[in-house]
Subunit: 90 residues, 2 copies
Amino acid sequence: MAEDNVIFVGNKPIMNYVLAAVTQFNDGAKEVVIKARGRAISRAVDTAEVVRNRFLPDVQVKNIEIGTEELQGDKGESINVSSIEIYLGK
Amino acid sequence: MAEDNVIFVGNKPIMNYVLAAVTQFNDGAKEVVIKARGRAISRAVDTAEVVRNRFLPDVQVKNIEIGTEELQGDKGESINVSSIEIYLGK
């Protein structure tokens, strides 16, 4: 799958990510991956739910994976952050 | 599955939910479901990750489901809230 079918959810309004996903499907993508870390995880779930409930009813959640990523803190310490990947497909 | 194998994640410290899950597995549960809504979703993922990375390496994520629940607001209006269910099992 091409890297441009991945949407990283951050702190922008959820509708930005929803429209990015809808655009990718309308451009012919068969699968779109919504990724997020830390507190943005709940926003990734919101994004997936709005895409399939309000815009693209034929899109389904194919798979969801969770994991832990180790980030570097300001002082070089390592911080564990949870992550999610939501695979949407037609 | 008995209802007491379900853990609802809210605003308490994550370790509370982690210990509740670990206790259920140690008491013989084969499956524990971690549920959350709205902003607590990212904390549910944290809970699942800490359980399997730090306490019970033999526990795996069996399935993850996301959905939308319709809640009643203060003024009787309906509010859509995302939800997650993380199924952990041995």
